[in-house]
Amino acid sequence: MSAHLPILQVVVPLLAAPLCAFLRNARAAAVIAVLASWATLAVALSLLGDVMSAGVISYEIGDWAPPLGIEYRVDIVNAWVLVIVSTIASVVAPYMITSVEDEVERRRIPLFHAAYLLCLAGLLGITITGDVFNVFVFLEISSLSAYALIAMGTRRRALTAAFRYLVMGTVGATFIVIGIGLLYVMTGSLNMADLAVLLPEVWDSRTVKVAYGFLGVGCCLKLALFPLHLWLPNAYAFAPSAVTAFLASTATKVAVYMLLRFFLTIFGAPFSFGVMGLDRVLLPLALAAVVTMSLVAIFQVDVKRLLAYSSVAQIGYMVLGLSFASVTGLTATLLHLFNHALMKGALFMAMGCVVYRIGSVHIDAMAGLGKRMPWTMAAFVVGGLSLVGVPLTVGFVSKWFLILGALERGWWPVAVVVLLASVLALVYVWRVVEAAYFRPAGGDEGTREAPWRLLVPTWVLVGANLYFGIGAARTARVAERAAEVLMTGVGP
């Protein structure tokens, strides 16, 4: 069965989704969702192990040989992203059971879990496939189910937020498919490895450059790079808490992976950095994202919105790493994919605990919560420290590599901006901490700590923040090898 691991990665959640839709029972659907998520994690970990020791794995769908047939191709880069997505899924799925019972209409819960599993299948599919049209198909699967998940939020504004995301996301997906179409016209191939071989012959053509532009803008819309981030804050603020935790730590990460795949594997680093000058385009945008979005986050009163703006700033860090055009910079990007998933997952899950107890994440409503919900707020504090980049947390590791990459290029002003933005992050995290610990408690006296079913998954992620922050050597080694694969083009 181990030869079939690449396809099982996608098929397990894809089969579990209709099963959930069949069931009328919320609990049974939830159990299926949890088991399927854990299965994807087991598959992803064993794929990463195989790739680290034995190199690239290729799987031919329907026994049709690539480049004609659809190929699933696992190298270190996407094995790493698969692990990120399935780790978050396996932590969020058990959390979802309790959180969703509180926030979603009871009769819709089985369908909610079905939509979640479809979204997971789509995200894993984008990551694992070696066929560019397959990327588009899975992108649509994950996006459509994400719109449905966001629309299930408790407030009515969730609907407009989901609709806005739908419009922007569809524009992004259309741009991507236009880019894919242009590449197909020029090369007659949809296979990534094959495209990477065929494209250098037609580098000079305007069609290829236009395709590059379409793919770039499409991916940047999906990953919410400033100034294309307008859909993100509302979508994250109004979605059910568990959905925010899941999407914030997976969907944008997979979009960043998509960008890396298109620009570095298919077009190749020489074309991206040499011919198109990608680094010069992305550097100012990334810096603008980091600074302006951190500033905007400081003035938010809804903590979920605050964290959403902070996510846009953190995406800026990932793109910044790419714009260094070096192995160190890419290592920072790939590390931050994982590290940011851990910290934002933990923070949004802590906010989910707050919503579960007091029904709001307005900063005033959270006054004095430090005493009433000590574990929840402690989780927020550790997650927040990680976001700032305090040593012994994962945030420090990403910033370390980022600054290393900047200094390697001799761009010390960039390193200064990264450090200044950390101070801004400290300011917005501090505002929440100040409200929770130093303001007198108002409102309901009876607010208790969140149930353990929410706290345990939250603290698993908090623990991961510390564990991978202290022992960063393992993750850094994988990220570094993945960065080398991306910079040198298609591996063996």
Binding site: V11, L14, L19, A21, F22, Y59, G62
Partner: protein
Amino acid sequence: MREEVVVRVGAKILVPFIIMFALYVHFHGDYSPGGGFQAGVILAAAFVLLALVYGLEAVQRVLPPWFTRMCAALGVLIFAGVGVVTMLLGHNYLGYNALAPDPTHPEHGQHYGILLVELGVLVTVFGVMVTVFYLFAGRGRENS
């Protein structure tokens, strides 16, 4: 339109042919234009026509909303299930050659495989089309 005799009788005569044509488009999909998606849409159109002429309630007695929702999920299960079956038969995912009844002609499996997979597409497309129609046609009725 419930009072229009010509429309009522005309719809009644047309519906079986529409359903027949849907099945033709599905099973003939590998020789001529067509396939599961188109067949599913045509099949759904038959019931939409009935609903327009005889009213939503009459059609929902024959084709209840829970059934169309089941169809939407069932089709995915059929499609993905075919892949799992070929995998259990020792081929790759969706390797239709595994489905050939006569092992000396494995290519015949392609025919059966594509028909089964497209059947899944038909069921899901039909289910989703009718569900979407029910939702839009039924809007505001629950309140009034």
